[in-house]
Symmetry: C2
């Protein structure tokens, strides 16, 4: 009997890397490449080729011995694993500098993941469209989340509005939150949460720069 590949217990780090592999592979494909070796992927991602082969083993993909991995096949397989078949709709709350930068960057990049609505409190923004994403009043959030079957929310409101925004999202039945404000939030266990603060990353870089000096 073949090994059961459920993908339910892939390591978290592997999930992240699969997304990164795909990004790199899409670029290679657009450059006309059709096959790639594990050590080439590794170099791009600053990791080892063993790591790459191990990850691909976990998802059950086999390359050919002489030519390496078929880029298109691998892209498709990664898609089968990390994408949701029917697609996942995303909303962004807070159409300020960061929110608009993210929308502008993300829109059209992925088939199965789409930012389908923006929300704000500022009347000057409500009703406008930014990079193809319409900005709605926050008062309509609950309605539109349900209407458009939005599962994931990205929070880019001012820090002091974060807690309230998170509550609103949870109440509307959101299943995942990506919080870009510097204010950590609390969510129920059934909501998946990621938080990111650029200052932490920048301080980490600064720390290791300082260390290399000493």
């Amino acid at each position: 009997m073949a090994k059961q590949l459920t993908f339910k217990n892939l390591p978290h780090k592997t999930i992240e890397r699969l997304s990164q592999y795909r990004r790199a592979l899409l670029l290679c494909l657009s450059n006309g490449k059709t096959h790639i070796f594990s050590h080439e992927i590794a170099k791009i991602q600053h990791i080892t080729s063993v790591q790459v082969r191990r990850d691909l083993m976990l998802i059950g993909y086999s390359g050919t011995l002489r030519k390496g991995y078929n880029i298109q096949e691998l892209i498709d397989l990664i898609g089968n694993i990390i994408d949701s078949e029917e697609g996942i709709n995303v909303a962004i709350i807070g159409m300020g500098n960061l929110g608009r930068a993210l929308i502008n960057y993300f829109t059209g990049k992925r088939h199965k993941l789409e930012i389908v609505a923006g929300f704000d409190t500022n009347p000057d923004k409500i009703g406008n469209t930014f990079s193809g994403v319409e900005c709605h009043s926050i008062t309509e959030l609950n309605k539109i989340i349900k209407q458009k079957d939005i599962k994931v929310g990205i929070i880019t409101v001012p820090a002091d509005q974060t807690t309230e925004t998170a509550k609103t999202l949870v109440k509307a039945g959101i299943k995942g939150i990506l919080n870009y404000t510097p204010k950590p939030i609390d969510v129920p266990d059934d909501v998946y949460l990621e938080e990111y603060d650029m200052i932490t990353t920048l301080e980490k870089v600064a720390f290791y720069v300082k260390m290399s000096d000493e």
Copy 2:
């Protein structure tokens, strides 16, 4: 003889958490709190109190038994460890949507870490000041990096300009790079590199949302 605390081999994850602890502590301080327990810090950061105590043990900080940790003292100690005494200057290359959002967010947030220059190729931007940061021509990068003793660069140029920008920075003697473009870069071993792509994070959130559905 007291244990030698060099901080050179603190776990990477501990470094990240120290930055996050400080962010949380600064907020608590501004709310008038003077002391805090490990489980309170833990709750904010979505980790366990053991983790917090272990991290603080590694940096040699002791709280008082009944009142917990002195917030101001802990902030100062974390600063002594992760900040560079003389401060570190940062430049941002690419004053577009994302670059300006980051500048606007970061400016004034930390004493020992300052964005002191921006660079762009667009004549409309060069000479202007954004959130207090002056935008220079990219042709002046080398000169200004040296003049202002800039050690860290943040890359927010269009993806296809990334490789070239990274090369320019390395040649100018930069010691750390934070790359926000989706194009991974290569740097020499003595340059510390962090890369971040929002799509990876968003795809991770989407993946676990999808998984919880099945």
